[in-house]
């Protein structure tokens, strides 16, 4: 949990700089997205088959296509094509516990959702289904909304980027 402590520290410092625009809520969401990630670490998991998470019933579209609504700000290889899904890492990879977030509109219900773009890490690039959409992405010095950073830095060993997920955190509105 050390990394998350650091993230909290970082957030506190950033807040102290007086930033209060869209970034801040994003930051909080982003850096704390997978706060339960430690319990998900493969070493701690039971050994039952665990299928990729499916998409939810109120969704339409193909999660293996870059056009899929959740991917409005994704930038990388789609985990759906790499042995995972939009919200599951492929076997043998580790989800980044901190990451950046975007806001995408679900065309089925017309609502905006906060999407967390966690990287799956620990193996070199999957190389399948490259999908690059920079909608709302910011420069690297605004990290919580930047897709130019390798977010695998938050994993146990800071290991290599493999693919990107797009996890629904909740409604944005």
């Amino acid at each position: 949990m050390r990394r998350l402590d650091r993230a909290a520290e970082y957030l506190a410092r950033s807040a102290a700089r007086g930033t209060s625009r869209r970034g801040f809520i994003g930051r909080l969401g982003a850096f704390l997205t997978v706060s339960g990630a430690a319990t998900l670490l493969p070493v701690a998991r039971a050994r039952a088959e665990r299928a990729p998470n499916p998409v939810q019933v109120q969704e339409q579209g193909d999660p293996m296509s870059c056009e899929y609504w959740r991917y409005c700000a994704v930038d990388g290889f789609l985990c759906s094509c790499c042995g995972g899904s939009a919200s599951s890492c492929p076997p043998g990879t580790e989800p980044s516990p901190i990451t950046w977030v975007g806001t995408c509109r679900n065309p089925v219900d017309g609502r905006n959702y906060i999407i967390s773009y966690n990287d799956c890490c620990g193996k070199a690039a999957c190389g399948r289904c490259n999908c690059s959409r920079d909608e709302g992405a910011t420069p690297t010095y605004q990290p919580t909304t930047s897709n130019d950073l390798d977010w695998c830095l938050g994993t146990q060993a800071g290991v290599a980027y493999h693919c990107s997920t797009s996890v629904v955190l909740g409604p944005a509105d």
């Binding site: 493969p42 299928a51 990729p52 995972g84 492929p90 043998g92 920079d134 130019d148 996890v167």
Partner: protein, 395 residues
């Protein structure tokens, strides 16, 4: 940073996908639920139609890997990392464990060299135990017989070339190195029974060898040269029985050789091509596949002369090995540099072409493409179907 690749697509004139303008909201639906990010876990045992495809990543050869594919669905299941000059993955006979001999340098392509065997459970594809082995593993074109397992899965053998030749033995049960054993003048380990193997020697002879109960290698009898200098046996034979291997020469002569009990005997010699087909030769990185339940041999064949032993096949020629007779010629829609066949009674035939990034899943009777799995890196070499033992037990 992953937007980078899009730029090249743009250069090709593809337009960037932009979000469609929002439409008016439909009648109220329950909002999507917050999700928990999970990590996929697989079956504990490879089913018969799972297959590993190896990518040597030639231009970035320190970053080889294997892709695990479900050939029935065409789904990409996961990735097993390799190392410098990735050869392949040794899968335990029960299909539960993958062992990857890998070579790493402390500074990428230079520095201190470390060779290890890393153990992965098929169920989670996570790097588990690691056994350090002598940093002498051969760096070459991938050859399955450089990393064989004993039939019971107990010992993993790794061929070394420095250019001194030797074999490192790893106890896959105890997960420790047994030792390194010199095999001067001979290389490759073609397994013949529970502990025996054949090696190929520079003069065209074969060398028998065997592991003792502790895994130590003992050299046995050597044959006289069995192949001529002008038409050597390929280093890519295929196993057709517990102690029997089918060798082909560059020109397409077949020799069936039995190594049972450390005695080496030539059981049959015949030719792949008829007298009127002398332009046809076997070729590729993995030119031979054998389907034990039906006794069929699949061979990648092309038209070409001397020095074309790595040319991809234009056709697959199918043989009844017991009868030493060709039974079919399959014309390929695309050339293939590797061929393999699943070991079960309802088999799938697999082909790939180095550079294509595509695995073709075929009907072994007709060669018809059932499905293609694309986007598999660029430098696919060996295809490794699920082991036969797993085939017997699974599903």
């Amino acid at each position: 940073m992953k937007t980078l690749l899009a730029l090249s697509l743009l250069a090709l004139g593809a337009s960037q996908a932009m979000a469609a303008p929002p439409k008016p909201a439909p009648p109220k639906l329950a909002p999507l639920k917050p999700e928990e990010l999970t990590t996929v876990e697989l079956k504990e045992q490879m089913p018969p139609h799972w297959v590993l495809v190896n990518d040597i990543s030639f231009l970035h050869i320190a970053d080889g890997r294997a892709y695990l594919i479900d050939a029935d669905s065409g789904h990409f299941l996961g990735t097993i990392p390799g190392g410098m000059s990735h050869t392949g993955v040794a899968v335990s006979p029960d299909g539960r464990t993958a062992m990857v001999p890998g070579t790493y340098y402390s500074r990428g392509s230079r520095g201190k060299r470390t060779d290890v065997v890393t153990f992965y459970k098929i169920s989670d594809l996570m790097p588990g135990d690691e056994v350090e082995i002598p940093a002498k593993r051969i760096q070459s074109l991938p050859l399955p017989s450089t990393i064989p397992l004993t039939d019971d899965g107990r010992f993993l053998l790794v061929y070394n070339f420095t250019p001194e030749q030797s074999v490192s033995v790893v106890d896959a049960q105890a997960r420790k190195l047994v030792g390194e054993f010199p095999t001067p003048g001979c290389g490759l380990m073609h397994m013949t029974g529970s502990r025996g193997f054949l090696m190929q020697c520079a003069d065209g002879s074969l060398q028998a060898a065997a592991l003792d109960a502790n895994g130590a290698v003992h050299l046995g009898a050597t044959t006289k040269p069995l192949f001529t200098a002008d038409d050597p046996a390929s280093d890519k034979p295929v196993r057709i029985g517990p102690s029997t291997w089918l060798f082909t020469t560059f020109a397409g002569d077949v020799a069936v050789i039995d190594g049972a009990g450390g005695q080496i005997a030539v059981k049959a010699r015949w030719k792949l091509a008829g007298a009127d087909e002398s332009a046809w030769r076997p070729g590729g990185l993995q030119p031979l596949a054998y389907h034990a339940p039906s006794g069929r041999l699949f061979v990648l064949m092309h038209k070409g002369g001397a020095g074309t032993h790595k040319f991809p096949g234009e056709e697959i020629w199918v043989y009844d090995v017991a009868a030493a007779k060709r039974t079919a010629r399959i014309t390929l829609d695309q050339p293939a540099s590797a061929v393999a066949v699943s070991g079960d009674a309802a088999p799938l035939l697999y082909t790939t072409l180095f550079g294509s990034g595509t695995l073709a899943v075929r009907d072994p009777g007709t060669g018809a493409v059932l499905r293609k799995v694309e986007g598999l890196g660029s430098d696919l070499t060996l295809i490794q179907p699920a082991p036969v033992a797993a085939t017997a037990g699974a599903r």
